[in-house]
């Protein structure tokens, strides 16, 4: 069985995924060491687990020995995999924070924006999350930085 184990008491984000309903990955950010086939398996499993859920379910799925906090925006599922003892609500807010930044940055973001500008999406993720932790939560600050970075190219 696939398990996502870390040292005890290591509350770290294991990975962040953005997937669409069909299972295509729009972003995969890994904060732990996984083999390529492990990554593939996890992606498939997460997709299978979240797509069967609807509005009458919670936004949390306890799965094997970890937990997925997810939220659906239109056709995209934003999933964060955390430790079972972590604070679900805080990560739910973190997802929403992240999505609002994307929305602002891409001016009413849609899935195609994430496809054609995938490397920029990674930049956004790296501004807001680092080393498996939430890094910057102020949307204003993040957007300011993103615009600065853009001007450098």
């Amino acid at each position: 069985a696939l398990s996502v184990t870390v040292q005890p008491r290591c509350k770290i984000i294991r990975f962040i995924l953005i997937q669409n309903r069909a299972g295509k990955t729009r972003l995969a950010k890994w904060y732990m060491q996984f083999d390529d086939d492990e990554k593939q398996k996890l992606i498939e499993e997460v997709h299978a687990v979240v797509t069967v859920r609807d509005a009458k379910h919670t936004n949390f799925v306890e799965f094997r020995n970890f937990k997925i906090i997810y939220r659906r925006y239109a056709g995209l599922y934003f999933c964060i995999c955390v430790d079972v003892t972590d604070n679900n609500l805080a990560y739910l807010e973190a997802i929403h924070n992240f999505v609002e930044v994307l929305n602002e940055y891409f001016h009413n973001v849609c899935e195609l924006d994430l496809v054609f500008n995938f490397y920029k999406v990674y930049t956004v993720v790296d501004e807001m999350f680092l080393a498996g932790e939430i890094r910057e939560t102020s949307q204003t600050k993040v957007l300011k930085q993103l615009l600065m970075l853009q001007s450098l190219e």
Binding site: H57, E62, L89, R135
Partner: protein, 719 residues
Amino acid sequence: RPEGLLGMRLQEMIRVIRSARTQGEERGIIQKECADIRAQFRQGDNGERSHSLAKLLYVHMLGYPAHFGQMECVRLIASPRYSEKRIGYLGAMMLLDEKQDASLLITNSIKNDLSHSSQYVQSLALCTLACMGSAEMCRDLAPEIERLLRASNCYIKKKATLCAVHIIRKVPELAELFTPSARSLLSEKNHGVLHGAVVLITELCEHNPDTLDQFRKAVPELVQIMKGLVTSSYSPEHNVAGISDPFLQVRILRLLRILGHNNDTASDAMNDLLAQVATNTDSSKTAGSAVLYETVLTIMDINSESGLRVLAVNILGRFLLNNDRNIRYISMTSLQKIVQTDHNAVQRHRGTIVDCLKDQDTSVKRRALELSLALVSAVNIRSMMKELLIFLSTCPPELRSQTTSGIFNVAERYQQSFVLHIYLIRILLAGGDVRDETVPNLIQLITTASELHCYTVHKLYRALVKEISQQPLVQVACWCIGEYGDLLLKGECEEIEPVQVTEDDVLDALETVLQSHMSSPATRGFALTATMKLSTRITDNVDRIRSIVSIYGSCIDLELQQRAVEYNALFKKYDHMRAAVLERMPVMGKNSPGHTNGDTSGENKEPDPSKPKPVEAGLLSEPASQVIIIGYFLTETVYEKNGLRLKIQCDKQTETEVMVTLIGSNSAQNDITNFSLQAAVPKVCTCSTFKLSRFSTHKQQIISAAILTGHSIHTVHEY
């Protein structure tokens, strides 16, 4: 839309790939693109490299192999141009991990970039190190990171703190290096830096108890910071739904939890603050609830005053009433953890918890079920049982088994209450998904409540008459009818309206089970035995029983046939013993393991409830022991394996004496050693005079025992 030169070429390729109509077509396009990319890489620096790598990264995201780009990442990282570095680092994070050799090659570039004049380049390096830095790289670069923690701008400090966290996770011995700077970072005003500092300190404390001790001194400072956040006026940058930087609040609360755990001084210092946060935080939105939730977790894990604990449980109770299902769910998760330690406080919310059994999300239902079961007490057992039974009749299939066993465990705990017993039967009638082991357990439970036998057999008989598809229900019903059939026929029962049941009715019901294709072989065994038992409990229809039993003497099912033959013999040759053999079973001990028909092993067997009391012979061969349950009155070969053959012969000696002879023969090459024989007999019979001889090659040896009524077991010879 944000674009650039890089963007356009990349987008072109992406469009082409997306236009593919089949998987095969896509693969073809990708192959061509990769060939182009490879060619580009070989050409060296031509201003196109970052485009090519970006394309490769997209291809990688679609799931295609991209290893050949690894060295290109290394090269691009070393480039002086920002746009190339940026893609190079992204590529490193996506394509390289600690296992690749190439990752070591970028260590030097990272080192240089950490001291770059542009903070954005520094940031790239920090980010990459924090993402995929191996232990070796971390050791190399730790001093650089430590320097950045102390002397750089906020933007860099933010990243450096989390990079330090990563380093400590990879190389725990380096924790000491970061401890001094971590402490001083607490006086930063910048939220991002503060957040990183708190995370770093948390990591340091979790790694080292001595460091934890040190940081306890920082509790007052942390309390101050929290107070500032809770009471501060509207701060737009970090505000989420009216809460000032809930993420930072959550992290500070978590750190306080670690520092206050098992330490009175620290716990005292944060007591007021926790009360303040608990009462002042607005929980109408998720952000506030997240903070409140973390507060509750902290209160529960430190040495808080009892008043504070009650406050925390009440918050959880309020969460239970929240419209948001998420919040109800996490509330129950926490309540489950404290239901033992703060039982009374949680009991106050029992009503709401029970209501959550009706939620539409199965995971919420599951939590509510676990909590409900934990909250059952002698005082509320009746109403809780009612709720749980209602739940059982409508719960989703994946929860049935858990519910039924939960109810059984609760019932066992309170088995003194006869009301419970009634509900127990109703469980079966509700069609609960009962596991096989539960049947003997339930039977055992039924035997212990003698005042309920009448009620039980009536209820089960009526259920049996209605439908016979649920095997556990049918088995228990048959057993009860066999045992308590006399009570059933008498017709009177306190708790049920009396209905006249005739002997024919009862035998009809049992025969229906015997003949039904829905009945499993085990179930039919129950039914046949029950029929037989009734022969001593009814008066008029014994002949009918005789004929049923004799019909099954030629049944194809071996098990059934064997029983029928035995019962036949019980009618014929051993009629005088019939009453004694079929009498009421004694109350069974609690420690008997669950039995399944015929294939358990071991010495201390309790009477198998599905059969009349048989003589057993335990035979040991090789490492495994086998128990073969034989009938009373047969002569047959009961065991034949590896040259050892055993026959049992029963002969009536006198009116009260039966000789059971075990005839063994050994046709193997070697002697059989470690052969032991044990006989168990029902209390009406006793055993004496065992005579054993040695088994040796090619010889027939006879072991005989005389079974007499009325004497105690003399000796059991073990050989």
